[in-house]
Structure formats: C-alpha cells, structure tokens
Symmetry: C2
Subunit: 283 residues, 2 copies
C-alpha cells in the first residue's frame, strides 16, 4: 500500500545556502525548470527572514516564479489561500528549523495533501535540515549525539511526511557526529536504513534510486544483516550502552548512486572509463 513515488526528492543535510557555488540550490532550481518554486518556512521561528534569504538566492540563480508558504497555526494549513500558493508549483522547498513544527502543523492537512499531489504528479519536494528529516515515514526528532546510544534512553521519533519509505534521515551528520543516534534509530527496527547526510550535501531520489550531490558524504547504515543487538534487553542494566553487530556501512560521495530497494551502492565507472568518456589522452 506504499505511496506512488513519481516525483523527485532532494534531501539536504543543511547549510547548503552557505555554499558560494550554490550547487545544491541550483539543482533545486533546475527542478523547477521555469515553473513555480514554493519556499515553505513552516519549520523556522523566523519565517520572514528565512524567506527573504532564500528568495534572494533563488532569484540570483535565475528562478523567476517563486512564492512563500508559511503556516503558524494549524488552521492556516487547511485554508484555501495557503493551498492556492501551492497550485501549479513544480518544487516545494522546506527550510530548516524544527521538524515537529512541519509535521504537527501540516500533517494530513489540505496543504499537506496538495504537496503530496505535486509529488505524485511528478513534482519535486526538497528539504534541508529539519526539512530533510520530515521526508521519511518515521523521523528522528532529537537524540543525544555526544555519547553512544543507551538502551534505556528513548530516541525521540515521530511520524514524518512519508515521502520516502524504510529510511530514517539524519542531517548535519559528520559535522555533529551523529553516528550513535542514527545507529540507535535503525537498531530499533532494521527494516529502516539509516541515512546520515552531511552539510552542503544532498541525495536526489527518483523512484528506487538516489544520487549524491554536494561537497560532503552520505552515510548509509544497513542493519538488515545484523546478527545481534541488545536493544530490547531490559535487565537490571537499564542504562546500558547499546551493542549491535554486523551493521553494513556505505559512505557515498558526489556522483555515487544507491539503490534503495536492493540496498546496494552502484559501483562507479572505473577511472579509465571516465577518462575515456571524457576523451582524455592516454598517458
């Protein structure tokens, strides 16, 4: 009963607007392809500032049709004028802030249904930082990243917007050292793959496959083959540190592709092949 995956997702690990080359935001703009791009500032406490900042950037890189969607109280998420903003949009871009703001304000509302429809009809849903976390069916909200995951300590997780299945996304990954909390999330149910995305780095998801874009890395944690975890051992050792054996880790960088259903990275072409396809001289 999975949702139809017909559009494109651009899931960004945060801080992409600091990149002077605007590599990732140019890809977001490219998806609009002359059509309307809507910047959704639902997650932030400073919607006007964030909107002005992104509007400036997107206009500088050639986006002409751009609009602002904000929702402060849930009632607005059902209002006709908010839905109207989304009409005809090719891209909806969720900025950073607090992921629970996005899901609690928009979840199952008319605005959400319109975003979903845009996606199902081939449009693009993009999001950075908190806007990246909400993409999955179940999202990470908070969790300690300063120490290894403790069995007795619950991670805060919540239902996300559900544009991507069987994946938990974490952002600012290497920058904030979030391995332990993402491992905690996937150990709860290895049906979920963990996807830790660095700053100024994105995955562009189409159908079952994704490609990495940007300067950092994407860490895929696959616990499906794991042979042991002590996560459910509630003995006297309630705050014992989590153990989990045989997790597979893939580190992907720009240009790498990954198949989400097969849970396999695609082997990149060999350097000789790349050189040949560029018409480089042989040495």
């Amino acid at each position: 009963m999975g949702k139809k995956k017909q559009g494109t997702l651009i899931i960004i690990g945060g801080a992409e607007k600091k990149d002077p080359e605007r590599k990732i935001l140019k890809e977001v703009a490219r998806q609009a392809n002359g059509g309307k791009l809507v910047v959704a500032t639902v997650a932030t406490e400073e919607p006007e500032e964030v909107w002005k900042e992104y509007r400036k950037i997107f206009q500088e890189i050639g986006v002409t049709k751009i609009d602002h969607l904000d929702v402060r109280i849930r009632e607005e998420a059902t209002s006709e004028d908010r839905v109207k903003i989304l009409k005809g949009a090719k891209v909806v871009f969720f900025t950073g802030g607090d992921q629970l703001k996005i899901t609690s304000q928009l979840g199952d509302s008319a605005v959400y249904q319109t975003v979903e429809k845009i996606f199902q009809e081939g449009g693009t849903v993009a999001g950075t930082s908190a806007g990246a976390s909400v993409m999955s069916e179940t999202m990470l909200v908070t969790g300690d990243a300063e120490q290894s995951h403790q069995i007795g300590k619950m991670l805060a997780m919540a239902p996300g917007l559900g544009f991507i299945q069987d994946v938990v996304v974490d952002q600012h990954f290497a920058e904030r050292g979030r391995l332990s909390r993402l491992l905690g999330a996937i150990a709860q149910n290895p049906r979920y793959m963990g996807m830790g995305i660095d700053e100024n780095t994105a995955v562009v998801v189409r159908g079952d496959s994704l490609e990495v874009l940007g300067s950092g890395a994407v860490y895929v944690l696959d616990g499906s083959g794991s042979t042991y975890s002590n996560l459910a051992e509630k003995d006297e050792d309630l705050d014992k540190t989590m153990a989990v054996f045989d997790v597979k880790l893939h580190v992907l960088s720009e240009g790498n592709r990954f198949n989400l259903v097969e849970r396999r990275p695609e082997l990149p072409p060999k350097p000789e092949e790349v050189a040949a396809s560029r018409g480089a001289k042989t040495t």
Copy 2:
C-alpha cells in the same frame, strides 16, 4: 615475524578517572595483583600533576606499590635510573596527552625495550587517550573530525609502540564524533581494523581476543570486505570527499568479546542463559 603477545593490554578511550566507580582503573589495579604499577606521564605537559592525581586514585583503590616514570628528553629514555623504575613492574600505565610525545621520546629506547619485555613476560600495558593510541603498530595522530574525510587531505599517522597489530585505535570516539577520521584511516589500508573507543570505556586484550569494559561503546570498523573506495583517485577532484562501500561495523558494549584474528564478535549468551546462570527465579 609478529611480536609474541603474551601479556595483557588495557586500551582506554579517555576520561576514565572521572568515573566515581573507578571501574576501569580498578581493572588496571587488579592486573598489578599486589605487584608494582608504574604510571608513565610521558605524553602530558603536566607530569607532576597527572602523577599525583593517578597516585591518589590508585592508592585509594588499594594499590600499594606504585611508581612514576617520566621522560622529558629522549636521553632520559636510555638512562639506567628510568629503566630501574620499571624493574619488576606488573603494569605500566600510559596517561593521556600527545601520542607523539610517547613515541618520539620512547621509541626503541631502553625504556621502551623494558616495557616490551614486561609485556612479553606476561605483564600488562595500559593506556588512556593518547596512551591508548600508541598501542598500535601505526597510530592516528590528528585528523579533522568535523567533516567527512577528504581524499586530498592526509591524515596524520605515525608508527606507534606496536603492542597490537592490524588495528588503528581512536579514542573519545562518540564524544568527539570521530567516525569519519577512523574511516579515513582504515580506507588507506583495510588490513587495519578501526577501533573507536568511547570515554570511560576500555578493551582488555589477551592474545587474539578482547573484552569490553566500562560505560560506553567500542566501534569496530572492518573494511576487509569493502567493494569500492575512491581514496586513490587523484583526478582534478583532489579535495573530493572519500567514498567507501561495504564496511562492516560492530558496536560492542560492556561484556562483549571480539576475536581480532577472525574479526568476529562473540555472540553473547542469551538472556535466559544469563538468568539461569545467576540462579534467577523464573517469572
């Protein structure tokens, strides 16, 4: 031509002296078993303070024979009076600081040879933080932990004391988010396993096998089965982010054992078995 591994290693991820229970330092003391324990403060800039601190702790937990080894200039590492301090020691404990201080001052000196002899004759070599890093044949000295590993950026590595083979140790692991630099180290040559040790956590190594002790986790990164790495691709993309596929990750916590030769964790006994062996009532 590997060195004989006859003694015990206690490799500690740092900050163990802040533990009010002194769990790890009690294990170090237990290894002394009434014999002499030598605290080597070679790595630190404040040898007297560090010595006094550890002396106090070790005396509180019942160590009676304790002595202080310090080396400020390399000449001292060959002197008879320094070697004499080590004579008859059951345990040599290296404190934290700068790992290069330990190796550059002690490497191949009379003091080093005496420590090695203690180990080969069944004694214990313990070390925390920098004192943990020096245990391996090749050690990590520094490396950026704030971003994913870049191909063009060299990690600082140097020859260590060589008490454990085919392993690179990193410490303060979850606390300082050091996944990316340890991955960078093992991708250079997957013959080396990465071992990231949290604070107040230790691995006790005897022969080919280790056991985890303390409150945090130990992360074992095994790249031997990896199918792709772009580490040696020196194209125009010199500062490209590293990619590596199919790394195996094991997260171990207290009581878990790992075989260093087979590169496999031991499956812990099932909870029922533990309960039975404790004579617990069935519920």
